[in-house]
Amino acid sequence: MSSKFTKRPVALVLGLALSFAAVGGVAMAAVDAGKVITSRIDNYKKIGKAFKDINDGLKADAPDAKAIAAQAKTIKDLSGHIPSWFPKGTGPETGLKTRAKADIWTDWATFAASAKGLQTESAKLETIAKGGDIDAIKAQVKATGGACKTCHDKFRGPEIK
C-alpha cells in the first residue's frame, strides 16, 4: 500500500516536472532578443579586439607573426558562428539598441555569404601569418578588413550614440 502511495507522488512530480520543462522549452525557443543582441555585440567586440591586436602587432619593428596567426584563428573561429548570432526576431523591429539592419533577414543568402567571406579571408590570414611573410600578412589583413567592410556596408546601420 505504502509503495503505491509513494510511487504516485513521484510519478506526479515527474509528470509535473516534465510538463514544466516542456513549457520552459517553448519559452526558451522564443528568442530572448535582448540577450542575443548583448552576446552578439560581445562576440563582435572579440573580433574587433583580435583585429586591433593584429594591427597593433604590425606596428612593431619586428611583428610577431605567430601571435598574428593566433588572432587570425580567433577571428576565423568566431566568424564561422556569425549567422547563428542573428536568429529571427533580433533585428531593429525589437526596438532594442542594435545596428543590425532588417536586410540581414530579407537577404539572408547574401548575409550568410558575407559572413562566410570573413571566415575565408581570416583563414587565409592565419595560413599566411604562419608563413611569417610580413608584407604578405599586411596585404591579407587589408583583405580581411575588406571582408568585414563588405558586410558592414550592407547590413550594419549607423552608429548609435
Binding site: 574587433g48 579586439k49 583585429f51 594591427n55 606596428k59 568585414c148
Partner: protein, 224 residues
C-alpha cells in the same frame, strides 16, 4: 580708419602660411574622417607638425607671433573686453588681448584633439592611430569618443573665431581676413610694425615641425 594712412606690416609670411595651411588641413581631416582614413591620418600628422612650428614661432618667430608680445594678464584682457562695444578700432598691430587667448585656446585644443586621435581605434579594430597599440581596445574606443568630442569643442572655438572676425568687420570696420592674407593693413594711429624673424629661425622651425610630424606618424618608432 583713414584710407590715406600707409599700410603697416603686421603678420609675417610664415604666420600667414601657418594659418591658412591649418585651415586647409583641418577641413581635410574633418571631411576625410571615417571615409578616407589614410588622408585623415596624414592631415592629422601635418596639423601636429604645424602646431610644433607655431610653438617654435611663438618664441622665435616674428614679433607679432611671439607669445610674450601678445599674451596679456586678466586685467588688460578685461579692460580690452570692456571696450569691445565701442566702434573705435583697437589699433594694435597683432593679436588684441582677447584674441590672444582665443589663439592660445585654439592651438592648445588642436594639439589635444589631434593628439587624442593618435590613440584612437575604430569600432572594428581596423583603423587606428599610430600609438593605439599602447592602449587596449576599449580604451582606444574611449580615445575615439574623446577625439570626436574635442572636435566638437574645436568647431565651437572656430565658430567663435569666425563670429569675432565678422564682428570686427561690421562693427569696427577692421578687415582682419585681408590682413591675414596680405600681411599688412592700414591703421588709424601709429602702431609698432612687425619685426621679422631671421631666416635661420624659420629653417629651424620647419625642421622641428617636419621631424615631429614624421616621428608622430611613426608612433615614435624611428630607427636611425
Amino acid at each position: 580708419m583713414s584710407d590715406a594712412a600707409p599700410r603697416t606690416a603686421l603678420w609675417d609670411g610664415p604666420t600667414r602660411l601657418f594659418h591658412w595651411a591649418l585651415v586647409a588641413l583641418i577641413l581635410t581631416a574633418w571631411l576625410s574622417a571615417g571615409k578616407s582614413m589614410e588622408v585623415h591620418k596624414l592631415s592629422g600628422y601635418a596639423v601636429l607638425g604645424l602646431v610644433v612650428f607655431r610653438l617654435w614661432w611663438g618664441v622665435a618667430g616674428g614679433s607679432t607671433a611671439r607669445f610674450v608680445s601678445f599674451l596679456k594678464g586678466p586685467k588688460a584682457t578685461l579692460a580690452y573686453a570692456a571696450g569691445l562695444g565701442s566702434r573705435k578700432s583697437g589699433e594694435t598691430a597683432g593679436h588684441n588681448p582677447l584674441g590672444a587667448w582665443s589663439v592660445v585656446a585654439m592651438i592648445a585644443l588642436i594639439a589635444v584633439q589631434a593628439g587624442l586621435g593618435l590613440f584612437a581605434t575604430d569600432i572594428d579594430g581596423i583603423e587606428s592611430g599610430p600609438l593605439s597599440d599602447k592602449v587596449d581596445f576599449d580604451t582606444g574606443r574611449l580615445f575615439s569618443d574623446w577625439h570626436e568630442l574635442a572636435f566638437r569643442l574645436l568647431q565651437g572655438l572656430i565658430g567663435l573665431h569666425l563670429v569675432a572676425i565678422a564682428f570686427y568687420a561690421v562693427w569696427k570696420r577692421e578687415n582682419l581676413i585681408g590682413a591675414m592674407i596680405t600681411g599688412a593693413r592700414r591703421f588709424g594711429t601709429a602702431v609698432t610694425p612687425l619685426k621679422k624673424a631671421p631666416l635661420w629661425s624659420l629653417v629651424v622651425g620647419v625642421l622641428l615641425a617636419v621631424v615631429a610630424a614624421y616621428a608622430i606618424a611613426k608612433g615614435f618608432r624611428i630607427k636611425f
